[in-house]
Symmetry: C2
Subunit: 250 residues, 2 copies
């Protein structure tokens, strides 16, 4: 891993890539301590600030953690599911918001993945998962709930559904799909009138899950997707009409 090309361009990126490869390929194992910054700067024949920039790049990806003090240094980090969740949510959110992904496309992907969990969750969900979902449904029925709180509750319910499958890898993968949608969903949940219908569908999903009826869960999720897509379409339609009235000449 001590290889470094002679061209003096983006040294810190090169060093970061070299160390990252060493970690990914298993040449550096979890909790192993990297050489100190001074030693690394010697090995790579660069200055300490350059090494530090490389280490910060790795720290940003949770590949290493640093510790100060006598026995401190940089250690290969065991990336936790929580850290991985957070990274995936950030990336997914930006990907959706920056690339003009249509609501339709994002929504389709999200429900497609969520339906995939339905069968497993129907088999394995515990009473805890059901209780969480019931509690969120109750909260969603409260009048005076802000749109943000309603949306957060919505995410929590779906999270419980996915977690019910009892597969942490699945939960991780779905985290991005469900949570990254939240900003997009926020746009279409501003009418209290529609909340009743959504609560109804959430109840249907939870009932089916409690009855260990995978097909019913799938159907209820499909209905929710249909409802969401229709709602979004009406919102976008109304918005476009409004902008046409505001600027009829164009």
């Amino acid at each position: 891993m001590k290889i470094d090309s002679a061209n003096p361009a983006d040294l810190s990126a090169q060093i970061a890539a070299a160390i990252r490869d060493a970690i990914v390929e298993g040449r550096l194992i979890v909790d192993e301590r990297l050489p100190s910054e001074a030693e690394l700067s010697e090995q790579f024949a660069v200055s300490r600030p350059t090494v530090r920039e490389a280490l910060k790049r790795l720290a940003a990806q949770s590949l290493i953690r640093t510790q100060r003090g006598a026995t401190g240094g940089a250690f290969v980090n065991r990336i936790s599911f929580e850290e991985a969740y957070a990274q995936q949510i950030t990336t997914s959110t930006l990907l959706l918001s920056m690339n003009a992904v249509s609501f339709e496309t994002a929504c389709e992907a999200r429900f497609c993945l969520e339906r995939a969990c339905a069968a497993l969750s129907a088999q394995r969900r515990t009473a805890d998962h059901l209780a969480t979902m019931r509690a969120e449904i109750h909260r969603q029925g409260q009048p005076g709930l802000t749109d943000e709180a309603f949306c957060a509750s919505d995410v929590a319910l779906h999270r419980a559904l996915v977690d019910g499958a009892g597969n942490p890898v699945l939960s991780y993968q779905l985290a991005g799909a469900v949570e990254a949608m939240q900003p997009l969903m926020n746009m279409i949940t501003f009418t209290a009138r529609d909340r009743a219908r959504i609560v109804e569908l959430h109840t249907a999903i939870t009932d089916a899950l409690e009855a260990v009826d995978a097909d019913a869960v799938t159907n209820a999720l499909a209905a929710l997707e249909l409802e969401t897509q229709a709602l979004a379409q009406s919102v976008f339609m109304a918005r476009s009409n409004k902008s046409e009235r505001a600027a009829p000449a164009s």
Copy 2:
């Protein structure tokens, strides 16, 4: 975003978080130029190296890109699907390898997600997708193919299946699930004898996809999962027997 607490701990992380929040919340938009390093160091009242470390953290997450020269600087980056793929694959791979995720769990998650794409792909796959899959199947039948090449071909085939759904968000989500499994799959593909069975199942999947038969695709994928799980179990069993023979006393 110019807020910065007075405690002098992890200044670069704080600054990175402040800028990241500004980007995620849309206060900084795509292709907008950030202040120069000198200006940022003034605003945050820290030195330039500290600002640089913060910027490197963001660059590692593809949130910004930097450009040298007179009109250079740091720009908010429109994260591409390719960059997002790469990040997700790295994170997923490390998550699996570092957290003692069982093959069974990872395999279940992967096929669960892939089956979710089957119905969409059956409807939308183009002739190109089918051709790619046929080509990979043909390659997989070649004798003398290395295990690594077989595995890469396997990933390419499943990639084509997922891309057939015509939903880039879905393709992105699945990239992590499929590609991160590759190192784990490598462990169980070392006998040429099993390749024939896998090619057979791949052919069944492709045939079903060509026939626009979503149920058949789902069933074939389920069969492939069963085969894979059984194969993995036999490999692990053989391995544990071997180690027992090697150290019978323990």
